[in-house]
């Protein structure tokens, strides 16, 4: 069994000393007395793999980027990438960099591991995404300050357990989850600007078919396709459909056999592509004087309909389309992950946010919907 492991040793440093994230701030954080915890948390995750010890080889990067914890637990280890930097606590030297994460991830991908475990936050997820894209199953160990990307498990132990079950083939399905990150510089100034950076493939722990009376759910991807078909089958001639970003909405483009912009907004009318990767301006032009629908899906683990990763769908766009013309898609597993919390909007226009509050019919299947509450953040 081959497992990849990358630890971002500086992840989480900013949080303990009140910095909102660690991007470009690791040295400041260390100087302020931050204690690195990423390695320790990774250790907790790897402990869950104890039962696989005999068969497992962990492919990782040198020192605190993985090797150290792997050796501490005595797992078989192969180092595929050597960072210039060995210890993050040396304040006088540069810390490991994003480039180290990317290079290590590429080497691990080439090695042909079954799964890549990575420890860090949203920034680390971005780096992993840039290196491996959707070509390798991954799972995140949450050790960073910002965890908006649902590619992370809820705890290090859960990440370890997920890895173990995946390696043992107890989980075989994969789902597509978003990689989101906040612009930290802006966040430190008090603005939240989340961008959608891409998607990673994560083991789908849907616990299918357990228990006699329990009907199994569709896989996340099948559910997404079912909702997408519903949208496409219900398309009205001359209506302009603005398709927001998200792994669910991009199935609408797939159902239309049109190219989907991975992270952006596409516009469709009469089942034809009107505009790819549309900016706010493009959208306003396309819907001007026409009837339109915004086809959106909650983004990230927090369940934002607007304001996270889809800023092109601005307050102006929503005003012009009309709040009553939203088509919200979400799989039941997305809704279940909210654990009863409402969906949220943050358009940057408080009056519009209030207007958007209320109950929406959220499409969860070809014929199934739920009535779900939307509030302002």
């Amino acid at each position: 069994m081959k497992l990849g492991l990358i630890v971002n040793p500086v992840a989480g440093l900013g949080g303990t000393v009140g910095l909102k994230g660690t991007d470009g701030m690791a040295r400041e954080a260390l100087a302020l007395g931050a204690v690195p915890k990423s390695g320790l948390r990774t250790l907790e995750a790897l402990k869950m793999l104890e039962s696989l010890r005999e068969d497992l080889v962990i492919y990782t990067a040198s020192g605190e980027m993985g090797e150290a914890v792997v050796r501490e637990l005595g797992f078989a280890c192969r180092v595929l990438w050597h960072s210039e930097k060995e210890r993050v606590t040396d304040v006088d030297k540069d810390t490991t960099s994003r480039e180290d994460t990317r290079q290590a991830a590429k080497k691990i991908l080439e090695e042909g591991v079954s799964l890549l475990l990575f420890a860090g936050g949203d920034g680390t997820a971005r780096d992993v995404y840039e290196a491996v894209g959707e070509s390798l199953p991954v799972a995140g160990i949450p050790t960073g300050v910002k965890i908006h990307s649902p590619v992370y498990a809820v705890s290090p132990e859960k990440a370890g357990e997920l890895a173990r079950r995946f390696l043992r083939c107890e989980i075989t399905g994969l789902k597509t989850e978003e990689v989101l990150d906040i612009d930290e510089a802006a966040y430190r100034q008090g603005h939240v600007e989340t961008k959608l950076y891409g998607y990673l493939k994560v083991p789908d722990d849907a616990r299918l078919m357990q228990g006699r009376k329990s009907g199994s759910l569709l896989s996340d991807e099948s559910a997404q396709k079912a909702i997408a078909l519903r949208v496409v089958d219900g398309m009205v001639p001359e209506m302009v459909y603005v398709i927001g970003p998200g792994s669910t909405t991009r199935q609408v483009m797939a159902a239309l056999d049109l190219p989907a912009t991975l992270l952006g907004v596409d516009i469709v009318c009469n089942r034809q592509l009107v505009c790819s990767d549309a900016t706010e301006k493009n959208i306003l032009a396309a819907i001007s004087g026409k009837e339109s629908r915004l086809v959106i899906t909650p983004i990230g683990g927090q369940g934002y309909l607007f304001g996270r990763g889809n800023q092109q769908l601005s307050a102006g766009v929503i005003h012009q389309t009309g709040p009553e013309n939203l088509m919200v898609m979400a799989t039941l597993s997305k809704i279940q992950a909210l654990q009863g919390r409402p969906l949220m909007v943050d358009t940057g226009d408080p009056a519009l946010d209030r207007e958007l509050e209320g109950y929406y019919q959220v499409m969860t299947g070809y014929r199934e919907s739920i009535m779900y509450k939307v509030i302002t953040s």
Binding site: E170, M209, K213, R367, I370, Y372
Partner: protein
């Protein structure tokens, strides 16, 4: 002599494990149980060619490949299988929440197997089956009293078939009033049975599901937003799987009626409500009871059953025909049901099951039925209080509020503390010969458990169940691996579930098993 110490309530249990082959594997060519004698010439002469009625196209050219076995081996095979099950007659059946598994009086089985009953045929002339028609008619009258509905049919042979028939009634009603095209939505709630959504979906309806508010009631504001001129109907359970009773139910049904829709009540399980609330006063136009839940008939492993379906006067002419009528002297089959949705099953329902429910109700009387509801609610709330005292077990929504006949618990804290999941506990409880059910999927309540004691268990039995669950919870904290690797004392050990959603990895018939395993 030393007295046996019965102080510790947790049982030392080990189930039989036989590694018993599938019956087809036990077949030996030419081996047989009974040699059926050739019919006598006189009999042949009277019966004529018995195969003649069967169209040639339906007649087999080659005999079916049935297992060939001697009687002792057949008996041994099924005895072994029976030892490998865990039914209501073996264990303290509290763990199968939502199923309402209660004691099924054995005398009622004997009644149903008396020749007067067992030898009846539904195609006999009506005048020769007056007895069973009387029983069905009187059961209908009792069900009317219990629900407030005006007429019942027993043709629907299960709860889900009754839910499907409700969807058909709703469709037929709107077709009748000319609004079928406009009304294409059915509303349900997330903690109602999944069939309440699935049945109307098969009927072609769009389904809108209402989520609970902070208190665990179906969110009325969300409901208001969902009800419209497109609403064909509202189908829900109450109490829902959480055991919480929606006390504003009349406001829900009123709103649906205001907009022109119909309301169907899933009363598959009415165990906590007998003699307390009725479908009519809650504003429903139709409801159904699963006789194998509330009315003491055996579950029978998925059948034969009865989902007795009742409707108000307005919907009576839409029921499946025939209805069983009484003209003051004779019982008759009334086929004159002008707006009928048509037959939903052959003949008139499973008569033996109706007989058992009838006997059960007659033995208890009206007071007794009310007592059933009171005791099952009392048992449930005793269990609820005691289980909440156990570290790691909690309930979603206000735990200080009484539940009706069952409770959905959450073991999230236990899982967070120990890594042991509710599924692990489910398997571990089998090591003590007890059931434990989690929830339908997906798990809206994290790490759920749903337990329902009914009126059957005594306080001692409730205490044994509680002590066993407390024992397993203690194991979770002290030795989580033991629980995670369970079951250890059951019929089989942990099953590899990895192939469960790969059709190549399972077979539901012997023939497909042979095909998929490459044997000839």
């Amino acid at each position: 002599m030393k007295r046996i110490n019965r102080h510790y309530l947790v049982r030392n249990f080990h189930q039989a494990k036989w590694d018993e082959p599938v019956i087809f594997e036990l077949s030996r060519k030419g081996e047989r149980g009974v040699r059926i004698p050739e019919a006598e010439e006189e009999v042949k002469a009277v019966a004529g060619d018995v195969m003649a009625a069967l169209p040639t196209g339906l007649q087999r050219k080659t005999p079916p490949v049935l297992p060939e076995m001697a009687q002792p081996r057949v008996l041994r095979h099924y005895m072994r299988l029976s030892q490998e099950t865990l039914g209501g007659d073996v264990n303290i059946e509290i763990g199968q929440g939502t199923c309402t598994v209660k004691y099924n009086p054995k005398i009622n089985d004997r009644l149903a197997s008396l020749p007067e009953m067992a030898a009846l045929h539904p195609e006999q002339p009506v005048e020769t089956v007056q007895g069973i028609l009387q029983i069905m008619h009187e059961t209908d009258l009792m069900m009317r009293e219990i629900s407030g509905m005006d007429r019942f049919t027993f043709q629907t042979a299960s709860g889900s078939q009754a839910a499907f028939a409700m969807a058909s009634l709703i469709k037929a009603w709107h077709r009748h009033t000319g609004e079928d095209q406009q009304r294409d939505e059915i509303i349900t709630t997330v903690f109602s049975h999944p069939s309440d959504a699935a049945c109307p979906a098969i009927k072609g309806y769009k389904i809108i599901t209402i989520f609970p508010d902070e208190e665990g009631y179906p969110d009325y504001e969300a409901f208001k937003a969902a009800v419209s001129e497109r609403t064909a109907g509202f189908i829900c359970a109450n109490p829902e799987d959480t055991g919480i009773y929606n006390k504003r139910i009349k406001a829900f049904t009123d709103l649906v009626h205001e907009k022109g829709g119909l309301c169907g009540y899933d009363q598959a399980n009415a165990n906590g409500l007998l003699g307390i609330t009725r479908a009519r006063e809650a504003g429903f136009d139709m409801c159904f009871f699963n006789l194998h839940k509330t009315f003491g008939t055996p579950h029978g492993c998925g059948g034969p059953g009865s989902g007795a379906l009742g409707v108000t006067k307005e919907l009576e002419s839409f029921l499946p025909a025939p209805l069983i009528d009484f003209d003051g002297e004779n019982y008759l089959l009334n086929h004159d049901v002008p707006n009928s949705i048509g037959r939903v099953r052959s003949f008139h329902g499973v008569a033996q099951v109706v007989l058992k429910a009838y006997a059960w109700m007659r033995s208890l009387g009206a007071e007794g039925l009310y007592e059933v509801a009171k005791v099952s609610v009392l048992n449930n709330n005793y269990l609820f209080r005691k289980l909440l005292e156990i570290e790691g077990i909690d309930s979603p929504y206000d735990p200080s509020k009484q539940r009706v006949e069952q409770v959905r618990y959450t073991l999230k804290k236990l899982t967070d503390d120990t890594g042991v999941t509710t599924g692990d506990i489910q398997r571990r409880m089998l090591d003590f010969g007890l059931h434990y059910w989690t929830s339908h999927h997906p798990y809206y309540v994290p790490e759920p458990a749903t337990l329902e004691p009914t009126e059957t268990p005594s306080r001692e039995e409730l205490d044994e169940y509680i002590a066993t669950l407390a024992h397993v919870v203690r194991e979770c904290y002290e030795n989580p691996e033991l629980v995670k690797t369970a079951p250890h004392n059951s019929v089989i050990h942990q099953v590899d579930e990895s192939g469960m959603d790969d059709p190549k990895e399972w077979a539901i018939t012997w023939r497909s098993y042979l095909r998929k395993t490459g044997a000839s």
